[in-house]
Every structure is written in structure tokens, then in C-alpha cells.
Amino acid sequence: MENKLPITRLSKFFSEDDYNLHIQMGQEYLHGDLNMKLVLYSVDRTTTDTDDVYAETIKSNIKYKPPVEFNAIVKVDEAKNQAYKSGQLRYLEPGNLTFSVYTKHLEDLKIDIQFGDYIGYPDSEKRVRFYNVVNDGKINADNKHHHFGYKPSYRTLICAPVQENEFKGV
């Protein structure tokens, strides 16, 4: 059983009930009004085989948990014109996907998003782009993610685009 330490700071001004109310209102805006949906393809790290030396695996050996749809507020960076080699081997790929999600929402869905998981976000009706989580935002004890100094309420995750031969949904 997890140890639970009640948070009593700011108790004269702000309580758990207030916090829950704020989160509820925020979720109503985010899920009801904005309704930005993403899909989590979480890698099943217990059933996926990796090699003993480099912990690499071949594509067909990666196992995924069932995909889960969730809501978050999304920001996609501009596409970058880059080169593998200075001035040569050009490629243009989408910018990083950054999204913020309520921790309560993840708890309600009983999911966790970890470094290396894949996220699907539709570009258009015809195309879903996939991203790889490169920063899972699990450490969110900073002021930005704190709700009025009471406790952290959301996580901000950064994902890098992947090519379709790495992942294109399950």
C-alpha cells in the first residue's frame, strides 16, 4: 500500500475539494470544448524481447499494449528542413509534438506515458502522424505544473516524429 501524506499547505485558502473542482473545470474545457484527442501506443516492456548487449530489438519483436485514446492540449512545432550531412542528404520532417495532459485524466484511464512510447495525432482526416515520447514529463514538481502551489496537476510531454518504417500504428 502506498504511503499517503495529506497535503495541508495553503489549507486556509485552498483545499482538496477546491483543487478537484478546478481540475474538473479544466477538464471540461479541455475535453469538452477543445476535445483534442491523441492515441497512446504504449510499448509493453515485459513482453518485448531485446538483445542482451545493446537492448535493441527488431521491429516485429516490439509488443504494444492496446491503444488508448486520451485528451490533451497539443502544440506542434514547425517542420524543420534539415540535412543528415552538412548541406547534403536533406530531409523535411514535422517539428516536435508537445502536449500537456492532466495527471488525473491518465489516472482515470489507468495509463502511464513513458519515454519510448508512441503517440498518434491526426494531421488530417486521412493521415495520422506518429511521434515517439522523448520527454515523458514525469517530474512535474515545478511551479509551472503546480496548481497554485498546492500540488502538480498536469504533465507536459515532448515527442519527436518517427518515420513510418519505425512505427505506423498497430
Binding site: D51, Y84, Q88, N132, V134, A160, V162, Q163, E164, N165
Partner: protein, 415 residues
């Protein structure tokens, strides 16, 4: 531990295991190409693009890396900045955004080609002197001769290439590295360019994987730098010279494209052969014996026998003292019989005659000594006139266009 592989020696086939027809066809094709690849006695050109192609073939043939059960694609072109856009938009291994899919192997040539450092072909002879390459026998139908083929020393060049592997697995890097190091365990390897073995040297291996940025797509990128110790052979510098004095060598050319015949009189077959000069050809062959040579003209200008050209009676060749200029029209009008006796369709003997007049402005009609049967040519001051410029009847010959006074008029006719 894997079992040692058996050598797959199948040079001597077992009885009953016939090779497939495809195998034989390929071998026949290979032999045919080997036999016919040189269309002259001289070596083939080896220029920059041939050397680049040699590098491309070397990488495609030797650097095959299998990842996840599939070969890592090798971009089948030497890349430049401009080329990359085209390749990535057309290549099979591109994603929906037309970005090339990782993993892949690419070959980049550095644009600058440096003077060669291969000690075998480094410059030793100054001023591009020509050297004897071979002596080739010639036979022109009459005389045996020989041509000496001379070529200068090849120019050594060093060409730098980068072979790049972009992949996402460390094991792929290991596989590629193993192949390259095995191939270059003796520092150099060779690629075959038009039958010449061209050495390649592995200079260094660099890792350019973007490890500094955590929040971006991750991949490995390694460069393998190679130097090709090549050389250039340019056929423009080849020289072919006769081994004996050209003055006594006669060349014959029978180019059907330049060769036309016109039968002006069916009974005695007066033939007009036309050739086009190329600036070097001196001898023109009509392909049959010339019984009577009426005239030879270059661009309509009559040529003087034994002064401008030579012709031996009964031979088919006209040899000019100096080659007609390129594009010049050489006209040879002759009778193709074995003698210079003409007979018309009634069995009447005809004779060729030439008469000259000086135009004094009084009359355009001239009287010949004999009745004219057919006019072979009319010339004014050495220029052959077109047939529409004159008429004839009996022993009267009339100019339709007035020449300048004092012009020398010649008429060659059958009487």
C-alpha cells in the same frame, strides 16, 4: 557457434546437373560483351563519370548489410546537393513526406578532384607527350601499310568519397563496419572500371550521430571516407599516324551517303557522282572503272587534271593534290565503260569534243565544229553552268544568260 561454411565449388558440374539455360545465356552475353567492348585498338575513355560509376558499383556489390531480414537500401546514385532533391522525390524507399526512410546507405563525392597520388601513375613525363601504344596493320585494297597508335600517359587523379550509413540500430553499424574493415583489411581494395583495376583506400571512419540533442529523432550516422586512386584516359588525346609516308599511301572511301549517280543518257550512261569533302579526304572512288573522265569540279569550279587532281585511265579513283574543304561538293562526271569509245542506241560511234570561245558581246550563239549530239558540260570562266542556262541545236549552241564580255566559254559535247 555457427558451423564453418563449405566452399561452394561448382566449377565441375556433376553428371546430370545441367546448367540452366539462363546461366548459359548470361555467360554467353558476358563473353560477347568482353569480346566487343573495345571497338578500336585503342583503350576506352576513362573519365570522371566512369570512375564515379566504378565507385557506385563497388559499394553496391560489396556493402550489403542485412537488417531485420532486408538489405539496407543503397541509394543508387552518387549524391550531390542538387541530386538529392530529385532522388528523394523519386526513390522507392521514401515515406509519405518524401523523406528517405532510415536505414539507408549513400555515397557522396566531394566535388574537388585532386591531382593523383598513386605512385604507379604519378606524373613523370612532362608536357603530355604521346607514346607508342600499338602498331596496327592496314590494307587499302592495293597497298599494305601500318598505323601507329599513340597515346599520352594517363592523368592520375584522387577522388574522395564519403559512404554514409544512416540507421537506428547499433547492430547495423557493426555489420557495416565489419564488411568495410574486412574488405579493406589490406588498406586498399579495387574496383573495375572498363577493365582497369582502380585502387580504393579507406582513409578514416567518423561518427556524426546527433547525440547532443535528446529531443529529436534519434539515429546513427557514420561516414566512411575513401579515396580512389584513379586516372583519366581521354580519347581526344589519342593520335593515329601512318607508319609509312602518307604521300605514297592512298586511302579509299566509299561513303554511300555521299555517292549519287545520274544517268544523263541511257544509251551511253554518262554518270555524275557527287561527294562531300571532309577537309582531309583526298581520294574519291566512284566504285567502277572510269572509261572517259569528262570533268571534275569542286563546288562547280572545274579542276585541272594533273594540276588539281590525278586520275589514271581506267581506274575509279580521283586523287586531289589538296583535300577539298569540309562540306565542298565534289562532282565527277564520267563514262563508266571499259573504253573511251561511245556508241549510241543506233550503233553510231560518238566522240567527245571540247571547244573554247571568248565572248565578245556580239552574239550569245556559238557554232561548234561538229553537230552536237549531247552536251556534257558548259563552263564559263571555269564555272560549270547549269543546264537551264543554255540550249543547243545542230551545231549551234546558245547562252540564255549573258556572261561578262571577255569570258572564256568551254563546251564539252558528244558529236
Amino acid at each position: 557457434m555457427s558451423l564453418p561454411k563449405k566452399n561452394n565449388i561448382n566449377v565441375y558440374r556433376q553428371v546430370g546437373s545441367e546448367p540452366s539455360s539462363k546461366e548459359l545465356l548470361e555467360r554467353r552475353q558476358e563473353l560477347l560483351e568482353k569480346i566487343t567492348q573495345h571497338d578500336t585498338y585503342l583503350p576506352d575513355d576513362i573519365l570522371h563519370d566512369d570512375l564515379d560509376k566504378g565507385m557506385l558499383e563497388f559499394v553496391k556489390d560489396n556493402f550489403k548489410v542485412i537488417s531485420d531480414g532486408e538489405q539496407i537500401p543503397i541509394i543508387p546514385k552518387i549524391l550531390t546537393v542538387q541530386r538529392w532533391g530529385e532522388i528523394s522525390n523519386n526513390w522507392t524507399f521514401a515515406d509519405e513526406d518524401r523523406n528517405i526512410k532510415v536505414p539507408f546507405i549513400a555515397i557522396i563525392r566531394k566535388p574537388d578532384v585532386q591531382p593523383g597520388t598513386n605512385p604507379i601513375v604519378q606524373r613523370t613525363i612532362p608536357e603530355r607527350r604521346q607514346f607508342h601504344y600499338s602498331t596496327v596493320k592496314t590494307w587499302d585494297g592495293n597497298q599494305m601499310g601500318a598505323n601507329v597508335y599513340k597515346i599520352p600517359q594517363p592523368v592520375p587523379v584522387d577522388i574522395s568519397y564519403e559512404v554514409i550509413i544512416v540507421c537506428q540500430k547499433f547492430r547495423d553499424l557493426n555489420r557495416f563496419n565489419k564488411i568495410v574493415l574486412q574488405k579493406f583489411s589490406s588498406r586498399q581494395s579495387y574496383t573495375l572500371v572498363k577493365g582497369h583495376y582502380i585502387p580504393l583506400i579507406l582513409d578514416r571512419i567518423n561518427d556524426s550521430s546527433p547525440i547532443e540533442s535528446l529531443e529529436s529523432r534519434r539515429f546513427y550516422l557514420q561516414n566512411y571516407d575513401f579515396t580512389m586512386l584513379g586516372f583519366l584516359i581521354d580519347s581526344e588525346e589519342f593520335e593515329v599516324k601512318p607508319a609509312i609516308n602518307r604521300a605514297i599511301m592512298l586511302y579509299e572511301f566509299l561513303d554511300t551517303k555521299n555517292y549519287t549517280k545520274k544517268y544523263e543518257n541511257k544509251s551511253i550512261e554518262i554518270i555524275t557522282a557527287t561527294f562531300t569533302g571532309d577537309g582531309s579526304q583526298t581520294t574519291f572512288n566512284v566504285g567502277e572503272s572510269i572509261g572517259e573522265l569528262f570533268f571534275v569540279a569542286i563546288n562547280g569550279q572545274l579542276q585541272q587534271k594533273d594540276i588539281d587532281y590525278y586520275w589514271m585511265y581506267g581506274t575509279p579513283r580521283i586523287t586531289f593534290v589538296t583535300p577539298p574543304i569540309p562540306g565542298a561538293t565534289i562532282t565527277i562526271v564520267y563514262y563508266a565503260g571499259k573504253s573511251n569509245i561511245f556508241q549510241d542506241s543506233y550503233g553510231r560511234l560518238l566522240f567527245f569534243a571540247v571547244q573554247y570561245y571568248e565572248y565578245d558581246g556580239s552574239s550569245l550563239t556559238f557554232t561548234t565544229d561538229h553537230e552536237i549530239v549531247d552536251v556534257i558540260y558548259v563552263e564559263t570562266n571555269g564555272l560549270v553552268e547549269e543546264e537551264i542556262n543554255f540550249t543547243f541545236s545542230g551545231n549551234q549552241f546558245t547562252y540564255l544568260i549573258e556572261p561578262i564580255i571577255g569570258s572564256r566559254i568551254g563546251i564539252g559535247y558528244l558529236r
